[in-house]
Amino acid sequence: MIPTKFLLILPILVPFLTGILAVLSWHQRNLQRVVSLTGSALLLVVTLILFQRIDRFGPQAVQVGNWQAPFGITLYADLFAAIMLVMAGLLGLAVGLYSLANIDEMRQRLGFYPLYQILLMGVCGSFLAGDIFNLYVWFEVMLIASFVLLALGSERRQLEGAIKYVTLNLMSSAIFLAAAGILYGVAGSLNMADLAMRLRTAPVGVVTTLAMMFLVAFGIKAALFPLFSWLPSAYHTPPTAVSAIFSGLLTKVGVYAIVRVFTLLFVQDQAYTQAILLILAALTMVTGGLGAVSQYHYRRILSFHITSQIGYMVMGLALFTPLALAGAILYIVHNIIAKTNLFLISGITEWVGGSYDLKKLGGLYVRQPLLAGLFLVSALALAGLPPLSGFWAKLTLIKAGLEAQAYLIVGTALLVSLLTLYSMIKIWTQAYWKAQPEMVERPLPPRGIGWVIRFAPVMLLAACTIALGLGAEYFLDVAQTAANQLLNPSLYVETVFGTFVGGMH
């Protein structure tokens, strides 16, 4: 059994070392592929072990460098973090496998695999950070890796998208950095557990001002309305594997950070902050939904839906009841899997149908029934139809919303789910049902290894979506435990300050 103090660092070290090995084997592409895939598989194993440990023994913290908190850097993982880490591991493997077929030779030679691993490292680090500046640093590593992955290949549309993506995300970083600096100026600490205690004695107005700064900074990353514009500009431009991993993990890191700081640090003026979160959540849902309805491009529809669904997650946070938070967590998990899978499916659709443009697609229900079926599983889950995963998340949120008497947001959530259904059906009708437009005559790709590499991860994720739906009780139970941990900040503080071992060295 791996001691927890090592286990907690492994989700960072595994992709880091994998990335370094991939850099060192820069010119041997096949070696890189083996290294990358092995690393991804290992990451999933590690995160699963970590999840199981935390599920059984509760939140864990480790002090990097063995410096007592709040002086060193703390890594902290509660059940929420562990869930997110498992998601990173799962996606890392699924998309990693898919990328073997999807990423072309040029991009491989320009460093796709190292970048991919470093991106995973940044994501995992963000989930584990127990120190606000360390979180900033993780955000940066994730961000810069995503910049490069987005622009890798330098197609014109990629570059155009990248400009917007880079600029707005650097804005977010600048605000985050300023906020972290001011937080240090106000409270004199960077350790989040320490801050949680110190901020209790700080003037409420000042803390709330800081909360708003963090909300804007993380809101950009999470693509909240009206800070989301970079996402639909950029997410549809790189190769599918890149879109998929972005859609699954990056915005969710923003949501994770929002949830973290608004449950741990900024709980002083809840009426005010929750009201703002609620308004943003509603607007985000609507904007994304409308955006998706207006599009005719497969991946752009999916991109807008990322935004709309972030609204649901923030809604769960804004309601701030255990059930609502559990709903948000369930929603995140469901959405990560379903949305990533849809992106992967969009890639296969392009592969067999020759386009992302819905007007040029068609006839795939007849020609590719398996693909169509896999699309349906994820799309209907996304639209929240029972008994798939999205239904349970939606039901939980609606129940929590009605219990909290937040009728307006519940109404919005329900209406937007109709918009989701509409746009998913649009994709279905156009790409799968409709007869194939005559102008595009493409021979079907052979069912070789490329077929297996593409379909295997999609099937894996579809199976996860189904399992999440049929086994909802287990996942809801876990989500509720995670939510209760989140709503109990003193657990965080005790865990961080209670686990210092070994005294001075």
Binding site: G111, S417, T429
Partner: protein, 805 residues
């Protein structure tokens, strides 16, 4: 009181359909044309299974099964077989068997017949779950599944645009209703504290007195009405007839559309004791009944006639349940069966005519009775039942209807009138269906071959059943065993139902006669009236609910387009503006209105001249950067800003920072010069006004950040500087160093540094990849150019690689 008995058969029975649907693809390959017969064995077996439960249920038992699924959300696999559920389960399975057999021939040779079977089985299983679920959310799940199955079945001919539209419309309308229903269900369970129908029923007082009664009622009615195609949601149903005949038969007349009726019946004892319920449900039912009947006799497409008459029947059912008297419920139960039998048969028969002749328009058909004797038999039996002639079951249904209406304490005349009118029009419709295609001179369209046994089996069986049950109505089997338990499951208490063909000379009999007379009369003149009525109808339709749907959808699309155009116009500076405005609003607003700066708490360090001069240089350099026209000067000025900052670091005790800043600044300037000198000059793109406006925004942002800086400095929460003290005091003894900043970087917070150099490495790889990609692209272009060197002008620009193929 009912006695609950756990029945282990239930779960396998209910899930068998799903299981079977999974292996359909394999079966179709294995059994080919026999698949239909094989698959029909399942509903048949289930039908028999349910028949064996009839006696137990009639004797007052209810059969249950309960398996926890998601108890945290009160969602469990709990089922209850009571009279009402069992009654519908029999309809669902019985019709299911006939429809599958029928479809095996109707869709014979269609490449997608396997998918048809899959969806029809999923539908059937879901429908069974729906009518037997005790858990309210389980019902909802099944409810949504039937909508989805219906979507795929309506869109069976999915390459036709009309099918796509109809399927989408049905899904959106019933889906919206489903969402309302979900909200209503959540509310209902919240108020009653349970998700079991049995227990909810026991808490009906609690619900009726709750302030949330009305919203809950409204939401649930929205769900039920949209599913059962009540006015103003009725329009999706006629359009749904784009599906193949077996689908119309099974989903859109016999079973799925009855789900709303079923739910209303199920909740009648809970929600039905209010005048709101009475008014809403009765009125909507009555309007739908009349509307359907009125629309149906003007049509000439047989399937359309059936569709609208189905609407009418659904309206009648809803009306009866809204009335809620014992007699009304009894009528509703019986009429449901009556309708399923004759309408199912008619849909199949019309399907046969369509299948064999390719025509559904009564104007192009004639004299078919000779050529299609079996179909004729079926239609004859069904239409007679539809017209309510003795000794058919339809007659008993109609008599009961009038009896119910006449016995009403309120609105008796009005509702009798409504029912009379509806039934008259039904008679006319029945006559149109029977007389025009089958009698009269043969027309051009004629059957191409003999009708297959599989095809006529269903309709003839159903028509025969309508006759047989009518003849047997006075026996116990119908009234006491089937109808009575169903009614008592809704109304509660034990009751007896006695059905008979002959009640003596009653007012009801008179009304029946009147109905027939009126119907026949209208039939006699209907051809002359039709054109005028159709014109009128078209005019009214322009304002009808279907147009509302169109407007809503168009409006939504336009709104979405407009909104997205506004917010996602591709121009980065607007995106930035949104971010800045949000920051100003949220952060600035909070700072000004909730925090503020404690000026008196600011500790000010005295000013010194060199620092002031330095600040002046820095600010001047910033001014140059912003204003200058030449990019090289701007870069140089930016360098000056950086170096001034480095000097600041020196002055304020940060030598490490200063060194790094100097080095980095130099590198940045070099990079700028290397990279940017090949870029164009600074161009002035924006107008003076834009610049002024941007300037104002920028000033506000500056003020905000300066304000935040001062705010932070005016707060002194920090346990003085606990961290700084610790670092300064521990660096030597614990970290073996003297340069505290460096020790923080490599030891206390070395982890940050490790990530930092990773960032740097990735950035370098990024620079490398960006620059190298040009080499790759150029190599490709050169290769292409040599390849097409002979051709003077390449016709198409070469696309960049899209993805690895």
């Amino acid at each position: 009181m009912h006695e609950a008995v756990v029945d282990p058969r239930l779960l396998p029975v209910l899930l068998s359909g799903y299981t079977l649907s999974l292996i359909v693809p394999m079966l179709t390959r294995l059994l080919r044309q026999m698949t239909g017969w094989f698959l029909a064995l399942l509903p048949l077996a289930l039908f028999v299974q349910f028949l064996t439960m009839v006696d137990a249920v009639a004797s007052g038992q209810i059969l249950t099964a309960n398996i926890p699924w998601v108890p945290s959300l009160n969602v469990n696999l709990s089922f209850v077989v009571d009279g009402w559920g069992l009654f519908l389960a029999l309809v669902v399975t019985g019709m299911g068997a006939l429809v599958i057999i029928y479809a095996s021939s109707y869709l014979q040779g269609h490449p997608a017949i396997g998918r048809f079977y899959t969806f029809i089985l999923i539908f059937m299983a879901s429908m069974l779950v729906l009518v037997l679920a005790d858990n309210i959310f389980l019902l909802f799940i099944a409810w949504e599944l039937t909508s989805i199955a219906s979507f795929f079945l309506i869109g069976f001919y999915h390459e036709k645009e009309q099918s796509q539209k109809a399927a989408l419309q049905a899904l959106l309308v019933t889906g919206s209703g489903g969402l309302a229903l979900l909200a209503g269900f959540v509310g209902l369970t919240a108020v009653s504290g349970t998700a079991s129908f049995q227990e909810i029923q026991a808490h009906s007082d609690l619900i009726l007195q709750s302030p949330y009664y009305l919203p809950i009622l409204a939401l649930i009615l929205l769900g039920a009405f949209s599913k059962s195609a009540q006015f103003p949601f009725h329009f999706w149903l006629p359009n749904a007839m784009a599906g193949p005949a077996p689908v119309s038969t099974y989903l859109h007349s016999a079973t799925m559309v009855k789900a709303g009726v079923y739910l209303l019946g199920r909740l009648q004892p809970t929600l039905g004791q209010s005048s709101e319920w009475f008014v809403l449900v009765t009125a909507v039912g009555a309007v739908t009944a009349l509307l359907g009947a009125w629309l149906c006799w003007q049509k000439t497409d047989m399937k359309e006639i059936l569709a609208y008459s189905t609407l009418s029947a659904l309206g009648t059912l809803v009306l009866l349940i809204g009335l809620g008297t014992e007699l009304a419920l009894q009528t509703a139960v019986l009429f449901l069966l009556v309708h399923a039998l004759y309408k199912g048969g008619l849909f199949m028969a019309v399907g046969i005519i369509d299948h064999e002749t390719g025509v559904r328009d009564v104007r192009q058909l004639g004299g078919l009775w000779r050529q299609m004797p079996w179909t004729f038999t079926a239609v004859l039996l069904a239409t007679l039942s539809m017209s309510g002639l003795p000794p058919f079951l339809g007659f008993i249904g109609k008599e009961l209807m009038y009896e119910t209406a006449l016995a009403l304490p309120r609105y008796a005349q009005l509702l009798t009138g409504v029912l009379l009118l509806t039934n008259m029009l039904m008679v006319t419709a029945a006559l149109i269906l029977l007389v025009r295609p089958f009698f009269g001179p043969p027309q051009e369209a004629h059957p191409h071959h003999k009708t297959a046994f599989n095809l006529w089996l269903g309709p003839v069986a159903l028509g025969g059943l309508a006759l047989l049950l009518g003849l047997l109505a006075s026996t116990e089997a119908i009234g006491e065993s089937l109808v009575a338990p169903a009614v008592s499951a809704i109304a509660g208490g034990e009751l007896h139902v006695h059905l008979a063909l002959w009640h003596g000379l009653t007012p009801m009999l008179g009304l029946s006669g009147l109905t027939l007379l009126g119907g026949v009369g209208l039939f006699a003149v209907h051809r002359r009236l039709q054109p005028g009525v159709v014109r009128l109808d078209t005019a009214v339709r322009r304002l009808g609910p279907e147009r509302w749907y169109g407007w809503l959808l168009d409006g939504l699309l336009r709104l979405a387009g407009w909104f997205t155009e506004k917010f996602q116009n591709g121009k980065l500076r607007y995106y930035l503006l949104y971010v800045l405005a949000t920051t100003l609003l949220l952060v600035g607003g909070t700072l000004v209105f909730r925090a503020g700066i404690a000026w008196e708490a600011l500790t000010l360090t005295p000013l010194r001249l060199p620092e002031l001069l330095l600040a002046a240089v820095l600010l001047a350099a910033v001014g140059v950067v912003v204003q200058v026209e030449s990019r090289l000067t701007a870069v140089a000025a930016l360098g000056v800003v950086g170096y001034s900052i480095a000097v600041f670091y020196i002055l304020f005790s940060a030598p490490d920072l200063a060194m790094t800043q100097f080095a980095i600044e130099t590198l940045t300037v070099i990079l700028f010069v290397l990279v940017l000198y090949r870029l164009p000059r600074f161009d002035q793109f924006s107008s003076r006004r834009t610049r002024l406006r941007d300037g104002v925004v920028a000033v506000f942002v500056g003020l905000l950040m300066a304000g935040l800086t001062l705010m932070a400095q005016s707060v002194h929460v920090r346990g003085a500087s606990a961290l700084a003290d610790y670092f300064i005091r521990s660096t030597e003894p614990l970290a073996q160093g003297h340069n505290v900043v460096n020790v923080i970087l490599v030891d206390f917070r070395g982890f940050d540094t490790m990530v930092e150099i990773t960032v740097l490495s990735v950035a370098a790889i990024g620079v490398y990849a960006l620059l190298k990609s040009r080499t790759f692209h150029l190599e490709r272009v050169r290769a292409e150019q040599t390849a097409v060197a002979e051709q003077p002008s390449p016709a198409e620009p070469i696309l960049p690689q899209k993805e690895a193929h």
